[in-house]
């Protein structure tokens, strides 16, 4: 089985632009969570989606939004990019919304804002 796949792997954007990051969960996993990892820090929770509904939101501004599609894949959108948005964006999938069987992470998208 394929693991969690994220695209693109790397991305360079200019301040003020918009970006869309994509995630495909493991087959059979219905929950997708997004995390931001700034260099030297642990991942920070952004969103969780389960069965296409938002189940949790972290302390991020409204410039960050996400959605989940019927096939359980997900997109993370960031508007009006700031230099501080430069980070590794990780997607994690789990079978259920409570993650009792654990969470599997993708390899992430490295976003650089210049």
């Amino acid at each position: 089985d394929a693991g969690v796949t994220q695209s693109p792997t790397h991305l360079i954007k200019t301040r003020g632009q918009h970006v869309t990051l994509r995630c495909s969960p493991i087959s059979g996993h219905k929950s997708v969570s997004w995390y931001q990892q700034v260099l030297g820090q642990g991942p920070q929770f952004i969103f969780q989606y389960y069965e296409k509904e938002e189940r949790g939101r972290g302390n991020f501004p409204d410039r960050f939004s996400a959605r989940q599609f019927p096939n359980y894949s997900s997109e993370l959108n960031v508007n009006a990019l700031l230099l501080g948005d430069s980070a590794l964006y990780l997607c994690a999938s789990s079978r259920t919304d409570r993650g009792m069987s654990g969470y599997t992470f993708g390899s992430g998208t490295r976003l650089t804002v210049v």
Binding site: Y35, Q41, L90, R98, G108, R110
Partner: protein, 112 residues
Amino acid sequence: EDKVVQSPLSLVVHEGDTVTLNCSYEVTNFRSLLWYKQEKKAPTFLFMLTSSGIEKKSGRLSSILDKKELFSILNITATQTGDSAVYLCAVAPAGTASKLTFGTGTRLQVTL
């Protein structure tokens, strides 16, 4: 607000040494504690602990949780250069949202 503190922030050991990584936490409604290994990008799952005092083992790695004192340790015996990585500790609260709160990680470097 949930909080996870890991120590040490980094350490360098020689191959064959045994290391202990520490993780203390504060969480409003605890459900589980997880350990991940991050070498380049994707954190890879090591352990999930939900019950206090029960050691989980996988090869040279083991972990135990103390829910009374709110901490966990990750032990690695007979370290190898392939163990060099950042080790992340995270807590998951009870409830419907799977929001993991991570520590900043411990960077382990194993030298020959």
